[in-house]
Symmetry: C2
Subunit: 100 residues, 2 copies
Amino acid sequence: MLRNRVLPELRLTVTQAAQELAIARQTLHRVLAGKAAVTPEMAARLARLCGIPSHFWLDLQLAHDLWHAQHALADTLDRIPAHALPDTLKTDILTRHGRT
Amino acid sequence: MLRNRVLPELRLTVTQAAQELAIARQTLHRVLAGKAAVTPEMAARLARLCGIPSHFWLDLQLAHDLWHAQHALADTLDRIPAHALPDTLKTDILTRHGRT
DNA sequence: CCAGATGTAGCGCATCGCGCGACAGAGGAC
DNA sequence: GTCCTCTGTCGCGCGATGCGCTACATCTGG
């Protein structure tokens, strides 16, 4: 995403991008290599740099983290009682905060 | 959200909910008090417990973290050059991953 | 040959989520 | 009055993690 599409379009090398983002060169490498997560601070910096909204980068990271969490806690989650919530209250909570 | 709507409906006290979530009682208190963030692991547990999808809890947390990050790095972000990305590429990247 | 970019690895620091022990307060049962 | 439970908060220690820094090896163009 970042390396293959955004950076070439901006005519920026990894080193240059890191300088403009005001972060260490290695930090950007770690993010590109998936060795470190995209933190809210990083997402804000990326959004400022290329105009792509920060929640886009964060949603990518979130889906990744959530996937790992669900598989790591699979056995633990099975032992958590699944209570049923009335649909009226459920949809009320969900719709009251914007997300579909 | 959790304390005022979900827990009363499930007839669960904080202590009981913590037990069912297989976490320490104080941990749940910290989340309810906003002293600790809703991690992907916690979101997965909550989703299992009450049926509300995990990305709902995570999006709430994310908006909060992002707000803090943007205000904490406000002066730093101002010094990051804002490059313009062609709308064709921009919308292409955004639409290719589901988020609007 | 050499300067600059790249990718990776290790170290140290600060932060943070978490479990645990401990505390004080409120409310119900006997 | 006494006990018990739940509650809310505090501090401590542990492990994980993001980050900057130094250092290394590699590749490429002048």
